[in-house]
């Protein structure tokens, strides 16, 4: 357990040592801020619904950018050899890196707390959906982080890791909007595969165990696949 903590601390610090963290956070805040506030006054509603509607799409680009270096960089530099020959298991490594990435997503979301706070001065804001939205955002961020981590474990090239991550996250985000292409009998199944579908529920403030189980299973599958890839590389 302490090994996971040490790896987590190192990875989390690493984000803020390099300029990547600041670039990604600025881009995230710019994009969400722009898309959210350009329509905010037109709708004339004191709610964050539009902000949360946008999140899955934005996350499917931003989170792979956060996770792409986690394994790919180590493998191209060769430091992976050092890490793996220290007394840690590959499970410690994967979990440490995963939690660092989730913590980074949380750090990235932190400044957006200013949105509901400032909106609450403009009208009566319902805090329930806001809290649900943030819980959902963390769950979604965790799921996409696990996918991004898996993409990063596949290759030593960070760009390939990024594109693979985006492809999987984006597919999960839009799959429930593409349902009209598919035959009727698998519609329900495909709809439940969609990350956006489950995120929508949570961000309305409804904490359904089905949605939480969905996100946790994506996390589990992503991390387990990374584990298998790393074992296979030995």
């Amino acid at each position: 357990m302490s090994q996971i903590r040490h790896i987590f601390t190192k990875e989390f610090k690493d984000y803020f040592v390099s300029p990547i963290a600041y670039i990604v956070i600025s881009i995230f805040l710019l994009v969400t801020g722009w898309f959210f506030f350009t329509t905010f006054f037109i709708y004339d509603q004191a709610s964050l619904r539009n902000f949360f509607t946008l999140l899955p799409i934005i996350f499917s680009f931003v989170i792979p950018a956060i996770t792409m270096r986690l394994f790919a960089e180590e493998m191209s530099v060769g430091s992976y050899e050092i890490l793996l020959t220290l007394p840690v298991t590959s499970g410690d490594i994967i979990l440490g890196k995963f939690f660092a990435s989730v913590a980074f997503v949380a750090a990235m979301l932190l400044p957006t707390i200013l949105y509901p706070v400032s909106i609450s001065f403009l009208g009566s804001l319902d805090w329930g959906p806001v809290a649900g939205g943030y819980i959902g955002a963390i769950l979604l961020g965790a799921a996409f982080s696990a996918i991004g981590l898996f993409a990063s474990s596949l290759t030593r090239n960070q760009i390939i890791a990024f594109i693979t991550g985006v492809a999987i996250c984006f597919a999960l985000t839009i799959i429930d909007k593409m349902l009209f292409f598919f035959p009727k009998y698998i519609l329900c199944f495909l709809e439940n595969l969609g990350a956006d579908f489950h995120f929508k529920n949570v961000s309305k403030g409804i904490l359904d165990s089905r949605d939480i189980i969905y996100f946790l299973s994506v996390v589990f599958i992503g991390l387990y696949c990374s584990h298998m890839v790393l074992q296979n590389k030995k």
């Binding site: 302490s2 090994q3 040490h6 790896i7 601390t9 190192k10 610090k13 690493d14 040592v17 390099s18 530099v77 060769g78 430091s79 050899e81 050092i82 793996l84 020959t85 220290l86 007394p87 840690v88 298991t89 030995k234």
Partner: protein
């Protein structure tokens, strides 16, 4: 202490290590020699748990590598080839991280880092990022990393490659110093280095062990014929040949490449015997020639290495 049995490692179809058996005792400094691609690095990587063997077993201090990998990793300090450390970390932060992972208590951490920094000469670069360091300092940081928990076994993959002669001497000094108490396994393709620092030399070629022993015993092995070089002033080649042709310990006499001066250089191939040099000297003494040079060719490690690895 380390017991390797029938270790084999395949990369897809390519066989990198082919049924190696090796026993390494406590306190031994073992130099692993071999040409490029012989399987040195692969052997070390399997030993340190970075790679899984295709077949065969490794036992260290009674721990089997398949079941007790974590304990084995705890026993070994490993410096991979060309020290691939985290480039964006400061040396101090990095050593701190390694100390944490190695489970060094936080109140002893600073003293340990200070000790290692003195030993490896890192004091000036403690607050530089690893990416900025020269190759020598990087290697030293790697060495400090490997020695962090004072491990019983140190595995160093080409610890001196790419360093300048001064740095090589320093690293060797460090290796010798720690080698007094620890088991050290290091790979190199510099033969003089293996000769200078190790108690035991193992030469591998194409994934197989082709020689194993101390530098001295390796030199003694091989063919029983030895050669003596002499340089004489006075006679010509034919008369020297006549002088030695009667001696039955001498197998062959060949002229060595002559300079333009009036000195005759000759190479005598003889069966090894203890009073060889004495015989030759006495024979020459009986003539009125001037003996300028007389020395026996010692078989160098280079030569043995070439013989063993060029065959196939």
């Amino acid at each position: 202490m380390i017991h390797i049995e029938k270790l084999t490692k395949y990369y897809n179809e390519l066989c990198a290590v082919d049924r190696i058996d090796l026993d390494i005792n406590k306190g031994e400094v073992l130099g692993l020699l071999g040409p490029n691609g012989a399987g040195k690095t692969t052997t070390l990587r399997v030993l340190t748990g970075f790679l899984k063997p295709t077949s065969g077993s490794i036992r260290i201090n009674g721990y089997n590598i398949d079941e007790h990998l974590l304990q084995i990793k705890g026993l070994i300090g490993y410096l991979p080839e060309s020290a691939p450390l985290y480039y964006n970390m400061l040396v101090f932060d990095y050593l701190n991280f390694v100390a944490d992972i190695r489970g060094i208590e936080s109140n002893k951490k600073l003293t340990r880092i200070r000790e290692l920094s003195d030993l490896c000469g890192l004091n000036e670069v403690m607050h530089k990022s690893i990416g900025e360091l020269s190759k020598g300092y990087k290697q030293r940081t790697g060495l400090a990393h490997a020695m962090m928990s004072n491990p019983e076994i140190l595995v160093l993959d080409e610890p001196t490659s790419g360093l300048d002669p001064n740095q090589i001497v320093e690293i060797r000094k460090i290796i010798k110093q720690i080698g007094k108490e620890k088991t050290i396994i290091f790979s190199t393709h510099i033969l003089s280095e293996a000769e200078a620092t190790s108690d035991r030399i193992v030469i591998i070629n194409q994934g197989k062990i082709v020689a194993d022993g101390s530098a001295q015993s390796l030199k003694g092995s091989g063919q029983s014929e030895s050669s003596v070089n002499i340089a004489l002033k006075g006679p010509d080649f034919e008369s020297v040949k006549d002088l030695f042709s009667a001696d039955n310990t001498i197998v062959r006499i060949e002229p060595d490449d002559n300079g333009n001066d009036d000195i005759v250089r000759i190479k005598l191939y003889c069966r090894s015997s203890s009073d060889l040099m004495e015989n030759i000297y006495k024979k020459i003494k009986a003539t009125d020639w001037v003996l300028v040079e007389l020395h026996q060719d010692t078989k160098t490690l280079e030569k043995i290495f070439r013989e063993l690895t060029m065959e196939q």
